[in-house]
């Protein structure tokens, strides 16, 4: 990561190698002491296909891949525009944060965000979401999810630098089109992502996210 001031923090996700182990999800919950039902990082499993009978044998035609998504700190954040109290704001480094002291818990941002990032904390009565481990960044440390990933499929840094290194793909099925909110996130698609999109494959672990 370069020394110069970061203007837009972003995540990179290599979905071609994500095993869906959820270590990132657990690390985030542990570090932020999140309540049951609140997930700042969510790991989705997208699966489709079927067993195909060929004469006397059956061939596996099933495919699956995983998508680890937190908040994408969008450059046109729908949550920020929707929030009536101004509790959601964007910092100079591009990180979108929620001020719990202002949030009224109306959950309008939950409707507005296409990534499921704002999560209602029933106990606190306010919305919460990934804050890019601001405290860790301030100490020169790595966000908990990125540090925890055993397969090293998560990276973070300046959006432009990540794009120069990995390309600028920001969409994979079933994510919405990046034109909706311009997420500060890029990814490497899994080899079966196009097939999943064509076949409108299901998210098969909805109860986990």
């Amino acid at each position: 990561m370069s020394e110069k001031k970061i203007t837009q923090y972003a995540f990179y996700i290599d979905t071609s190698n994500c095993s869906g182990c959820k270590t990132c999800q657990v690390a985030c919950k542990d570090k932020n002491d999140l309540d049951v039902g609140v997930l700042w990082r969510r790991v989705y499993e997208i699966s489709g296909g079927d067993w195909v009978e060929r004469k006397t044998t059956w061939q596996a035609g099933i495919y699956a891949y995983h998508l680890s998504i937190s908040c994408n700190h969008c450059r046109e954040a729908a949550c920020l525009a929707a929030c009536p109290t101004g509790a959601i704001s964007r910092r100079d480094d591009g990180i979108v944060v929620i001020d719990k002291k202002k949030c009224v818990g109306c959950r309008y941002c939950e409707w507005a965000c296409p990534y499921g990032a704002p999560q209602f904390d029933q106990t606190a009565g306010v919305m919460t979401k990934c804050d890019f481990c601001l405290d860790y960044l301030g100490q020169g440390k790595t966000p908990a999810c990125v540090a925890a990933c055993p397969l090293r499929v998560l990276e973070f840094g300046e959006l432009e630098e990540l794009i120069a290194k990995h390309g600028n793909q920001a969409h994979i099925y079933p994510l919405p089109a990046p034109t909706v909110t311009k997420p500060a996130m890029i990814l490497k698609p899994h080899k079966d992502a196009k097939r999943a999109e064509n076949e409108e494959a299901d998210v098969v672990n909805k109860e986990e996210v």
């Binding site: 009536p84 309008y108 606190a124 306010v126 909706v180």
Partner: protein
């Protein structure tokens, strides 16, 4: 649909009923001012006004139940620049205040007709702005089933239908009033009932083409039945109709709109993940 949607169902219905009552009452008063013939007895208008004020106060109080941290409500006007929710809350405050002010002036027996006319008209306009801003909240790009012209059409339809039904109920107490606009109000109920029926059919065709959202056909059928019954009742009522019939018509229309609003919130489904 999460549990706090019941407070939103009641809030939106009561607010729209209040706005409809105020808009139509002010319309009748304005027509009588222009024509020189009384359209509503003063006491009838006051009843409508007090109903509108009470409904709006109830709506505002009920809306607090959908908030996770109501004490932070002091900040809800902080994002008028981009948030339709902020703008709607401003409209709620202004409309509620305006209707209550008009009600207070009537209680105090103010004779200043010019001032009353101005405030009544302002309240009616604020009511229209309130329903418009309410509908814009739901027109989010991420919720396709709400992000359509059907949302404001349905909301305004509810406003006018319940408002007209409320006036029909009130005028049932004024049979002796020679210039009673009961027939006119009855025709309005027929018109708005037919409008809501048409919107229901067209909207059902639209959402049947979407792959997202709740689409319980029995609820749609029941709402269609209630709207049809209410509209047919409205076509039959006149100034001599039994008051119980007017009450039943009001209940049928309100039940239809309550069901429709429940379906609206239950149909929530967001794009993406």
């Amino acid at each position: 649909m999460h549990g706090n949607h019941w407070s939103l169902i009641l809030f939106t219905l009561l607010a729209q009923a209040s706005a409809g009552t105020m808009v139509l009452g002010t319309f009748f008063r304005s027509v009588s001012r222009i024509s020189g013939r009384p359209a509503l007895p003063q006491s009838a208008f006051r009843r409508g006004l007090f109903i509108a004020a009470a409904a709006m106060i109830a709506a505002a109080l009920i809306s607090f139940f959908h908030l996770g941290t109501p004490l932070h409500a002091i900040y809800v006007l902080n994002n008028l620049a981009s948030s339709w929710l902020s703008r709607e809350i401003l409209a709620v405050i202004l409309f509620t205040g305006s209707v209550c002010l008009v009600a207070l002036l009537h209680i105090l027996g103010t004779k200043r007709e010019g001032l009353l006319h101005f405030l009544e008209s302002s309240s009616a306009i604020l009511g229209l702005i309130l329903v418009f801003s309410m509908s814009r909240i739901y027109m989010l790009p991420t919720v396709p089933i709400w992000n359509h012209l059907f949302t404001p059409l349905t909301f305004f339809g509810t406003m006018f239908l319940i408002g007209a039904a409320t006036w029909m109920l009130i005028m049932g107490y004024y049979r002796e009033f020679a210039a009673s606009p009961v027939n006119v109000i009855g025709n309005l109920c027929v018109g708005f009932g037919a409008f809501q029926l048409t919107i229901l059919v067209l909207h059902t065709l639209y959402i049947s083409g979407l792959t997202t959202g709740l689409n319980e056909s029995w609820m749609i059928g029941l709402r269609f039945f209630l709207l049809l019954v209410g509209t047919l009742m409205a076509a039959k009522v006149d100034r001599d109709s039994d008051h119980r019939l007017l009450i039943l018509m009001f209940v049928v229309f309100t039940a239809a709109e309550l069901l429709g609003r429940f379906q609206f919130y239950a149909g929530y489904s967001r794009i993406g993940i």
